[in-house]
Amino acid sequence: MEVYTRSIGTMTLPEGPYVLLVDDEDASVGPLRDLVRFAGFASVATRSATDALACCFHRPPRVVVTDLVMPGQDGRALARRIRRRYPVLPIVLITGQNLEHPDWTIPPDLFEAIYPKPLDFERFIGTIERLMVAPRRGGTGQGRP
């Protein structure tokens, strides 16, 4: 299935379940895509919340992995918009930002798991594997490392 986004043109979504990666930095999203591929899952990489929403609304992913700080809508705003339409879609936050700073408070239950950068890749892959097999059914916030 093809999706058109204003910033990167036409993207092809995988046929089966996929992980949607959202990070505005090429240096971050590229290796992350390699990691998800290494773990054996299909993925789509987007550079903004707008592009990510376009993918979600065409065909929702099994899991969303988003950065926090991005131009335009940040990872929290993206998660809220996804939640409205897909209340049980698991969203994982990855960030290099200091979450103890009051500007970056994370509402409880918005994310399935939160991973600080640099990531603990074994745990991160474990979380992705778990969510790809059994997406969450309630807003418990469990899985936070």
Partner: protein, 231 residues
Amino acid sequence: MSQGSIENALAGQMLRLARDATLRGMVYDRLGDYCHQCRNRLNSLKLMIYLMTKQCADPTVGVWEEVNRHYRDLERKVEQIQTLCRPMTVSRVTLALDLLIDDRREAWTRTMIASGGSLEMIPPGSRTESKFDVERLGGALDALVEWRAGEVATGRPARLRWWVEQGVSHICWEEPVRPETGVRRAPTAGDVIWALPLLVRVVEAHGGDCRVEESGGWRLDVSWPTPNPAP
């Protein structure tokens, strides 16, 4: 200006930063974005190393272990900068100080011996149930030991004591003899600059204090309030 004087001056400025919340806030505002970018880059680097390691055949494992060690050093440096500048929340858990020290006894002893010194640990005679952030305090004490390992006089042991008394936890590091001026065996300038400010930052976040005495030898007293456990 000698290298030692420059390091001492820098260490003094870092100490000021650790103790002055207003100054820390100003530095944090300027360094916040820089540290964020550093963490993104570190993440990419770590990920590339991780994937390469996973895909490598056995003969190259030693090489990647070395690369990993260098990477961890780099990550630790960024962590130190951020620990000093950013807002800090301490997660106190109730734990015996003995356990914190015992957990690190072997590594600290090894570090001291590797640089020609030694460490005598003098356990307290009474219970040491305390309340502290294990990760933050442990990490700051690790940095302290690495720093002092390069400073302590050859052949003269440093002493470490710890105890809890009247609602206050104490850790005391003593070096009875000062090394000759200018003699430093371990070229770890970063630790000279960071170790004490980091410890001060962590201990003050616990509501405590660090005091250094340099008459004769070198002595550091660390203390923080520890409410008595309920009877």
